[in-house]
Amino acid sequence: MTSLKKLLGKTLLATACLGTAMSAAADVLSDIKARDEIRIAVPQDFPPFGSVGADLKPQGIDVDMANYIADQLGVDLTIVPVTSANRIPYLQTNKVDLVISSLGKNPEREKAIDFSTPYAPFFLGVFGEKSISVGALQDLSGKTVGVTRGSVEDLELEKNAPSDVTVQRFEDNNTTLTAYLSGQVNLIATGNLVATEIAKRKPARAPEAKFMLKDSPCYIGMAKGETALQTEVNSIIAKALAEGKLNDISMKWLKAPLPKGFGA
């Protein structure tokens, strides 16, 4: 009897352990479908990616992307506003399923979480009037480029641009932007968000992206090892890219098309 009891006890314990192990192994994607809800972290203080609109609702690239993904999965969307400091902890503590929060990729982050394919452009580049044709650093030879002094793009230009480029350095992004708007410079090296700002202020002088100095697009973050979820999200992004949804989002919020070869 005692041995039977013992056996029964052991079996129960083993089953319990297995049960726990199985529920832990059940992937986030199945959880989302079972819950009929996806929880997505978006920024609330970083326009045009995520901010609070006049109607007090979150808006921006990341919000549009979150809505699209929830739509494609056919589940309800719960938006979780986060700051840039706590977006990864939210993911690690399973408070959200995805982080769509203008997240860039770097080796430290890759140790902690997994990334999708890129969904939005974020880069430093040379921008300028449509009439000027430059496609690479060498083409800047003999031309004048405005830049914000001490910025990453300033250092990139100094390191890699031909020596006969005239670099006009201004105090801050706003002065660089004014220099371009007033026509004092026709080419500037800056981030694509600054270019968006110019396009908003003066659509007629919207700068065109000529080439990139440093590319650091935004990725969707998710917990490590969620292969099923990652595959699903990547295929949704691929679909969005193919059907022009990503380009629409870029046009709507960044006032510029996706850069050439985006997501390739």
């Binding site: 001490g150 300033d154 006009q168 201004f170 002065t175 004014t178 220099a179 007033s182 026509g183 004092q184």
Partner: protein, 220 residues
């Protein structure tokens, strides 16, 4: 802690900046004093309408910040089709600024010439132009020479603001070096000493010029 040797690779940058500041100062000091002298004469002896025009110019410049004048010329004028290079905008801004201040300084000197001098010149058969250039100007300038010297030095120091519109002057050099090697203390100490040296040099050169121009005193 402090490490001035980090500045050595940037010697050319500092030297280039220093030369730009000297060139701009030389050019605008001459242009500004000529403008100021002309305006002072007009303000003192000109037609009432032109007197008012000069007064308006002087008040406008003396009662607005230099950086606003500079930004207006560099960033504002392109909107009405007048596109100036950073260098041109700087020369114009510094010249009209010194012109306005020196107008008032020189006018004070002209005011100071006793009526008797004018009457004596008239008795000797001099016309207005001759009286002004041969009798009035030299003693008038002698009276206000120290004030004029100081004003020119103030404009030289004020040219530091030009780095805001990407003119590669001494301050631009300091800012650039500081943004590259993060040696803020060292960069700005060296720059401050260069400005100090320039100011002292200017005072010396002005004194030398003054000695020659106002030599008539010694002959007396």
């Amino acid at each position: 802690m402090l490490n001035f040797s980090d500045l050595l690779p940037y010697t050319d940058v500092f030297f280039g900046g220093l030369m730009t500041t000297i060139e701009l100062t030389l050019l605008t000091t001459v242009l500004g004093v000529v403008l100021g002298t002309t305006c002072a004469a007009v303000r003192q002896y000109g037609h009432p309408a032109s007197q008012r025009a000069v007064a308006a110019y002087v008040e406008l410049i003396r009662n607005t910040p230099f950086i606003v004048q500079l930004f207006f010329i560099f960033f504002g004028l392109p909107s009405i089709g007048l596109m100036l290079s950073p260098w041109q905008a700087s020369v114009i801004a510094l010249t009209i600024n010194l012109g306005a201040y020196s107008t008032e300084i020189i006018r004070a000197g002209l005011n100071n010439i006793p009526k008797g001098q004018w009457e004596a010149a008239k008795v000797l058969g001099m016309d207005f132009r001759q009286t002004l250039t041969r009798v009035v100007f030299t003693p008038a300038f002698e009276k206000i020479y120290p004030a004029l010297t100081s004003q020119c030095i103030i404009v030289m120091l004020g040219s530091a603001v030009l780095s805001q519109i990407s003119v590669q002057d001494l301050t631009y050099a300091a800012n650039l070096v500081q943004s590259r090697n993060f040696r803020a203390f060292e960069s700005y100490v060296v720059t401050a000493l260069m400005y100090l040296g320039l100011a002292m040099l200017m005072r010396y050169v002005f004194a030398m010029i003054g000695k020659r121009v106002f030599a008539f005193r010694e002959a007396q």
